[in-house]
Structure formats: C-alpha cells, structure tokens
Amino acid sequence: MIPAAFRYQRASSVDEASRLLGQGEDVKVLAGGHSLIPLMRLRLAQPTMLVDINPLEGELGYIRRDNGTLRVGALTRHYQIEQSADVQRALPLLAEVAGEVGDLQVRSMGTIGGVLAHADPAGDYGTLALMLDATISTNRRSIPASQFFLGLFTTPLAADELITEVSFPVASGPHRYIKFRRRLSDWAIVGAGAQRMDDGQWRVGITNAAATPVRASGVEQALASGASPAEAARQANQGLDPASDVRGSAEYKTHLAQVLTQRAIEGAT
C-alpha cells in the first residue's frame, strides 16, 4: 500500500502541464487523485511522473452560464458543482449527480475533468455528458462527448492533451438519475439518467453497463414515438455489455438497466 517512486511536478499553466505531460511514456495528470492514487498505492499504476494541475484551480475551476450553455472548468470539484446555484438552476441533474459522488472527502477533492479523463464506465458524469451531447474541450480541440468514450479507460486524448472544460446544454425540465449501489459511497452497480430537454425530447443514458457510458437511443426514440416509460425502458438493454463481477451478473445488470431506466423516466421531476 505504498506507491513506487515517481517524479512530481506542479504545473503553473496549462501550457506547462502539456509540455510536462509530453515528456515521457507514463506521465499522469494529478487532479483530485481519487482514482489514480489508490491504483498507485496498489502498484497497479506506476507512473514515472505526476503532473499536479491543482495549482491551476484559478484557471480551470469555474462554473459559467452562457445563454443556453453551462460551462464547467475541468478542475471544478464535485462539491462545487453540487453547491453551485448556477448549476442547480441551469442543469439541476448535474448538481444532483455531483452530490451523490463518493463521500464528502471525495467530493471535496475529485474533479469533473478527472472523472471524464479517467473514463471509468462507473463514472456518472460520462453518462450525463454523452446523453446531453456535451462538448469536452482540451488545450487542443473540442471533442463531442459522442466521440470521447472509446473503450474501457480509453479516450482520444493525446499524451500531452489536457481537458480544460466541459460544456453542457442547459436543461431544467424533469430529470432523474438513479444510482443503484449497495453502500451510499459506492459507485453505481448500474446507473440510469433521464432528462427531458427544453424541446420536450427525452435524453436517457446508462452508467456502468458496458465498457463506456451508453446513450439509450432506443429508449429515447420509443419515448419520442409515444411509448410509455415501461415500454420504452425495454429498449434500455441495447448496446449494453456489462461485466459479471462480485456486484452482480451481466444478466442482472442488464435487467437492472431496464428497471432503473423506467424508474428514472417515471420519477423525473
């Protein structure tokens, strides 16, 4: 439970962070550290260098609303998202999801950019980004969420590329995110989110039931053509490929995705 040796650098700007990240094979960004450090302590990850971007909080920690867009800086902590009056008004679903991440210590340190860059299918923000067609901006480019989650822990980010911002469309209509878990601070065994957009269309996504977050397009289309939540939720198994593990079998998780999807839509307020 003690990491292997690594070099440690604090970045004073995004450019410097990028330059440091480009210096070697296995250089990792340290943001909140709540996924990375446990992996390092178990020596499942042995990076040669950490680039600490926490000094960039002034630059990358922010929440701004521009008309129909909610822009969240990559280094914004879960707790700040949860507590933000702007988020609670512009995209209350995001505030609620942030408030259910881990425990208070995790929420005080963990960041939205870190969750997305880590691309763990259990990360709740990935589902929201995908179903809401968020845009993930880096120091190089803007990537639509639909092109961001390539596989398990896999994104299109280059070695020296750093997420700087996530922008979501504003949506304050009925919404619900259900995180099915055994213990309050656990990741979702399976999660399901539903949001009715301002144009009246539903957006639906599934967490932790495939190698990436899954947008439940079949459910969305069924709802658009007038299906009941129960009928529509049957489509929630499309595109899923959950792993069987100690938390549940693949079969159970697929079933759970359907149940939770129905409940998220029916329970949306």
């Binding site: 003690i2 292997a4 178990l42 020596r43 055994r182 213990r183 309050l184 601070s185 938390r247």
Partner: protein
C-alpha cells in the same frame, strides 16, 4: 460520592477521549532506534510448487538489508503452528505448518520470502523485485468437491483433504423420532466466508536486546500471554525472556486470537539481524491472509408434529478449514452442540462435523464463532417448519422453548444452560416491534403488490470460557481461567492488572467500576492495566468468546475481596475492635453500630504500609486471584427485523430492527448497548453484504479491497431499538453473562427470516447469505416463473 452505585452506572468509557482524539497507541505509531521494515513476498497462486527464488533484483536496491526464505528461518524457528484440540481432539489430517512456505505454497497469500529494508517503500520495492518461479498445481477451490476421491490434494504430501469427520451423536439416535414425525423439513444452509476486517490491521514490531537476552514484541493481539508462550517456544527462549506488549488494539473480532506466521517471522528476523524490525499488514493482506470466519455448509433436517411440537434434528456441518487447520479452527463445531438453540428436542439431535482442507487461507473464530451458525440454522428451520405447517413462527417457538422453571437445563449434548427466560425476551421484543400490527400492515402491503416481511431470531449463547475442567482439554493443557492482580498503594490509589486484553470492549471502564465498588475506592482512583506480559500475574488468557467480564471481571472481584478481607483485619486493629465486629460499607470500615467513627480504605491502605499491624499480618495491600468459573454463562435474547424487498431489483430495505437481550446483571448499560449496536451491524453485514469471494476456476481472491468486500457503513445499518430483560447468572457472584457477540449471533437469522417472510407468497422458503440483490432477484424471478407455470 455514591461509590456503591458504580456497578450498573451508565458512564462514558474512560478510554475514549484518547482514542478519539488521536491519542491511541497502535503498532505503527511506535518506532524504535534503527528500526527496519519488513515486506512479505506472498504466493499469488492458491497452490504451487516453488521452483526457485531469485533475489538478485532485491539485493541490488540500496537500502534493502536482507532477503530471507524458509531455509534461513529453519535454524531460527522450531516446531509447528499450534492447533488446539477444541471440540475435535481426534483429528484426521492436520498438515504441519511452518511460518513460511518451503517448496510448496498452499494458499494465495502464504509467505514465500521476506524482505527487510531501511523503510517501507524500499521493502515493498524489494519484494516487487524478487522473482519466484512457481509451478502452479491443481488447487482445491471449493468445500464439498474437496471430499471427492478424484479431488486434487491441498498438500501434495497429505493423503487426503479431510481434517476431521466426527460424529457427536449418530443418526440412529434420532431414528425413532423421525419415524414417528408428522412433518420433516430439510434445508442446506450456507455460511459464507467472512473477513474480520478490523480497522487496525495486524502488525508486529520486535526488538532483541543482546545484553539482556530479551525479546520484546509489540503487536496487535487479543492474547499477549499466549503469543509469548508460542513464540518463546518456537524460538527456544524461556517465557521470561519474551515480553509481549499490546497497547491499543483497533479491533479483532476473533482474528487476533491465534498466532500468525508474521508473529514468528518478525521476532526471528530481529534476533538474526540484531535490529528492531516492523511489519504492518496492508488492507489487501488483511483481506487475503488474516484468518476468515464461517465458511460452512449445514445440511439440516427437523422432525416435528403438525401441532408444531419439535421432535428431533439431524445436522451435518461441513467446515472449510482452509489450507491448514487454524489454531482454534476446530472450535466452530460448537455450532453442532448448540444446534438445538433455545428449544427442547425430546427425540434427540444427531450431529456430525466434517472439517475440510481447501487451498484458501485458514478459518478461525470470527465474532460469535459457531454460535451465529447454530442460531442461524435453528431459527431458519423453525421458520421453515412454521411455514410448512401454516403456524405463526412465534407460536412454534413458544411451544418448544425451555421454560424458566426448567433451569439449569441440560441440553442434548450435556451442556448446562445456567438461567433464562426465553419467552420473556420474545414477548418484550414482539411488543416493542409491533409484531401484531405488522401482520395487518403486511396484509395491506401484499394487496398493493409490495413485499414486507418480519423475521424473528431467538438466540442463546455459550460464553465465558471457561471452567478449567472443560477448557484445559480443549486448549491442550491450559485452562481458560482468568487472572487479576490488585495493588492498593499507600495513598489509596489502586492498580488492577488483568489477564484479559481489550480491543474495543471498554475494559478500562467496566473493570474499574467493579474494582471501585469492591474496594470501596473512588472510580477515579482505579487504574486498569493490561496488554503487557511483563506486568501483573504470570499468565493471562486474553479476550475472546465474550469471556472478559464473566471470567476476568470475576477475577477482579475476587482479588478485590481478598484485599478487603485483609484491610478489614487492619481496620479492626485501628478501631481496636474484633474483625468480626467491623462492617465495610461505602468504602469505610466501622464498628457495627458506630458508623460515625470509621476508617476509609485509603486510610487503611496507608496503615498497611506503616507500623503496628496486627500480629500475623504481612505488610502491603495487594492480592492476585485466578478465577475458575463453575460453568459457562448463557446469555439470550430475541431480535425482530422488518424488511421490504423490491421484487424488481432484489434490493432489501431494512425498515426496523428491535433487539431485547439478556446478559444478566449489567455493569455499564452504555457499553452493553455499544456492543449490541456493533454486533447487530456485523450480523446484518453477513446477512446482506459481506462475502469473501474466490474465482471458482482459478481460486483467486476476488474481494481483495474494501471496494469489493462490502463492509457496510452507518448509512446502511438502521439504528436498532434496544431493550433488555435481566436474568442474573447463577454461575458467578456478579450475576453477569457476556454480550460481546450477542448481536452478531442473533442478527443474520432475523434478517434472513424477514426476507423469507416477505417473499413467502412466491413460495420461497429459504434464502442464502449474503442476500445480495442479484441473488434475490434471480430467486424471485425463478419463483415467479414457477408460480406462473
């Protein structure tokens, strides 16, 4: 100062301020000059031959001091790991165990090499740099297949995997009763492996003083004197030359009773290298290599009449011993001897236990140790019977309870229950839980398509180990009596050295309450000391099996009474009266009828170290007592759990938990309630959350972190509603029984019975543990398909 009221007083634990403000002294808090750190290379395979160990990479790391393997330890350590007779004096195959694997590793996590370095990081670097060439061997990864003739063997050098096969009473003995039964119910009941998961993992620091020829070991243990005995023996040192110190211990739950490989490897290394050495277990090591609890399968049959009268039982226990028989691995067959629970079985109980070796870490006692298993099986079977004959589970219990006037009651195996009022506790629990009203609400909910259930668990326990005649044969010689030494200083403060060793029980408070009342000294004047073999009586017996109060508390009491008897003579001399005329009351000695002229215990203590003592009285005021109880003690109680099951997800919501327990007289209600809160949480944890999982094909541990091994938190456990009845124990003068394991013994059956009750409209009559959502959903779905079909 109402000192006579300290026993029974609801006072806060005196040990808590330092523990909750960072003042605790755990093994890792201690450092020594020149301290080295040990890391252990462990087998990643459940079973493998060790072909070659190449330490070149480790030696190349600056700061790595030594790499040691079995060959290095063989000259330093002798003998084999101790295995107590416990309930199985005649075992079949008991593999010899050395603290470190030589040519064959038999469980994942078994030590293969140790690395000693200047600090922990370098030690881990060194361990990582060691190349071990393994030849994986076929592994025994499950309990029942291990008994099949074609099974691989856990140890290639042993003839089979059968640790024991012992029949306590044969099936013939219940044949008559089964022949006349009107109804027979059968079930296979699983007890999953559990990881004890103390907050403080294990840890050992050892230092060898060459000038004094003295070995000092600091460690987290429940049992310092036994560790001294075992380690001194293995190292060829007299007990006097080994000192075991255990300051604060962050939980044990039974997993810190027995000695471990590291308890030998660290001291042997310190002696070899002539440097202090420390090893601290990581959380993953704790989940992987600290002994597990439970790990059993029970096949049970109950014969009864249609009116609910119990006749007889057959029970077979299959116990997963692991790769070696644990030091107290053969204690858990006690489940067979208590399988009858709180009930009468006029037609007898046939019982057999089969101990099975597997390529997994050994099992050993875990909170309750055999008694949760017994309660779970009998309480499950009574509910199954009630369901079968369409009778209320309450009525079945009430029909068969041992009644208050039948105590002392000798059970089917000759064990004598000391006192009890089982129906009294049940009636109170039913009243508090609103049982009758619940049945009405349940009906309503069922009409709405909701699944509410209520479960009962009426538990009993054998604890307070124990009478010398029974316990000496079980340990292989040493009786599990208990010692206390009381020393009253001239100015009236007293130290009490006890042979028990607290790891969360609050002994500093409870024993001080007993000592204060017994000695007539202020509570604040009493200091309780334990956990250092260099202090106090020559031997102590440790803390486990809810024994500390009923045995250790009584040792404090009897040593204190010896002090009072001597003080009474000295006081009589001071008061110029005959000792027979002197009364001791509220800490003061006075001549009967003349309370105005009195000597306090402190004044008498001062006199005891002065001049003019009565003839034949030695100076000083100290006494040592070893208390040998005449019987075990038998607490009991009744728990009621209310749940709702979500049939679509298999999720169980705990709605209400009520517990009425009886541990005889109570020294400190706050501590009793704390024990129950924690115990109930651990029982619920077994029922719903925790399970050590191994991959059935590869034998690899799947629950090696606390993200995967689901210890529930305060968020998941409802605050239980507690009440009590008080039936004093006739076994000891204090009238006390144990309460440390009670909650765990009772809770799993209450929760599972409630779930089965909720799902009974679907025809479900049994649910295994842990009742995870996945497992329950599958069972519900199958039942629904069955109902439809």
């Amino acid at each position: 100062m109402a000192i006579s009221q300290m026993i029974g007083a609801r006072i806060h634990r005196r040990e808590d301020p330092h523990l909750i403000t960072g003042g605790g002294r755990y093994v890792e808090d201690l450092t020594r000059p020149g301290l080295l750190t040990m890391a252990i290379v462990r087998s990643p395979h459940p079973h493998a031959r060790i072909r070659r160990i190449n330490a070149t990479g480790a030696h190349a790391i600056p700061g790595v001091v030594a790499v040691l393997t079995a060959a290095d330890f063989k000259p330093l350590l002798s003998g084999t790991h101790p295995v107590a007779p416990a309930f199985i004096p005649e075992k079949h195959t008991v593999p010899q165990r050395f603290p470190i694997a030589d040519d064959e590793a038999v469980f994942q996590g078994e030590p293969v090499a140790v690395v000693v370095a200047q600090n922990r990081k370098l030690a881990v670097d060194g361990a990582q740099a060691i190349e071990v060439e393994y030849e994986p061997l076929p592994a025994v990864t499950d309990l029942l297949p291990a008994l099949e003739p074609g099974s691989p063997r856990v140890h290639t050098t042993d003839v089979d995997n059968l640790a024991w096969d012992t029949t306590f009473s044969p099936e013939d003995s219940v044949k008559a009763a089964f022949d006349q039964a009107e109804v027979v119910v059968k079930e296979r009941i699983l007890q999953q492996r559990l990881a004890p998961t103390p907050i403080e993992p294990r840890g050992v620091t050892a230092e060898y003083d060459r000038f004094e020829d003295q070995l000092t070991i600091w460690m987290a243990t429940q049992n310092p004197h036994f560790i001294r005995l075992f380690v001194s023996g293995a190292m060829g040192l007299p007990e006097t030359k080994v000192r075991v110190i255990s300051h604060d211990v962050g939980g044990g739950f039974g997993s810190k009773i027995s000695p471990y490989p590291e308890d030998y490897l660290v001291p042997a290394t310190a002696r070899l290298l002539k440097r202090p050495v420390r090893w601290i277990e990581t959380r993953t090591e704790s989940l992987q290599t600290t002994t597990h609890g439970r790990g059993q399968i029970f096949d049970v049959e109950v014969a009864a009449k249609r009116d609910g009268s119990l006749l007889a039982m057959k029970v077979t226990q299959y116990l997963d011993a692991g790769a070696y028989v644990g030091t107290f691995g053969a204690f858990q067959p006690v489940a067979c001897l208590l399988a009858g629970g709180a009930y009468k079985w006029p037609g007898g109980i046939a019982a057999r236990t089969v101990g099975v070796l597997t390529n997994r870490v050994p099992t050993d006692p875990y909170r309750g140790a055999g008694r949760p298993e017994a309660t779970h099986l009998v309480e499950r079977m009574l509910d199954k019977l009630a369901q079968e004959i369409g009778m209320d589970p309450v009525a079945v219990r009430q029909k068969n309870f041992v009644r208050p006037e039948e105590f002392p009651f000798t059970n089917n195996f000759g064990l004598v229950y000391d006192s009890g009022n089982y129906n009294g506790a049940l009636e109170r629990a039913l009243q508090l839980s609103g049982y009758n009203d619940f049945r009405r609400r349940q009906e309503q909910a069922r009409r709405d398509g909701r699944y509410l259930g209520i479960g009962l668990s009426t538990w009993i326990e054998i604890c307070g180990f124990g009478p010398s005649a029974a316990t000496a044969p079980a340990t292989g010689g040493l009786a599990l009596v208990e010692s206390a030494q009381v020393r009253v200083h001239p100015t009236g403060s007293a130290q009490v050295f006890v042979g028990t060793h607290a790891h969360g029980q609050g002994h500093d408070t409870t024993f001080a309450q007993i000592a204060a009342d017994t000695l007539g000294l202020p509570y604040e004047a009493i200091e309780i000391r334990h956990g250092d073999t260099a202090e106090g009586p020559a031997f102590g017996y440790g803390t486990y099996g809810s024994r500390s109060l009923a045995v250790g508390g009584m040792a404090v009491r009897t040593a204190g009474k010896q002090i009072v008897a001597k003080a009474q003579k000295i006081a009589a001399n001071m008061l110029e009266a005959s000792a027979d005329d002197v009364v001791f009351d509220q800490g003061r000695f006075h001549v009967r009828g003349n309370p105005g002229s009195a000597k306090t215990m402190a004044e008498v203590a001062f006199a005891a170290y002065g001049a003019g003592l009565p003839a034949g009285t030695d100076h000083g005021l100290e006494a040592t007592s070893y208390f040998d109880p005449p019987n075990f003690v038998w607490p009991f109680g009744s728990h009621v759990c209310e749940v709702e099951v979500d049939p679509a997800t298999g999720d169980v919501k705990l709605l209400k938990y009520t517990a009425v327990d009886d541990c005889g007289n109570i020294i400190n209600p706050l501590i009793v309630e704390g024990q129950l809160h924690g115990g109930i949480a651990q029982g619920i944890a077994q029922a719903l959350f925790e399970e050590v999982s191994y991959d059935p094909q590869t034998g690899q541990l799947l629950t090696g972190t606390l993200a995967d091994y689901l210890v529930p938190t305060a968020n998941e456990i409802p605050s239980p509603l507690l009440d009590r009845t008080v039936t004093p124990s006739p076994t000891n003068e204090l009238g006390v029984k144990g309460i440390g394991e009670a909650g765990t013994i009772a809770a799993s059956a209450a929760v599972i019975n409630a779930i089965v009750d909720a799902l009974s409209p679907l025809g479900i009559s049994h649910v295994d543990m842990p009742a995870s959502p996945d497992r329950l959903w599958k069972q519900i779905r199958q039942a629904q398909e069955g109902v439809r079909a």
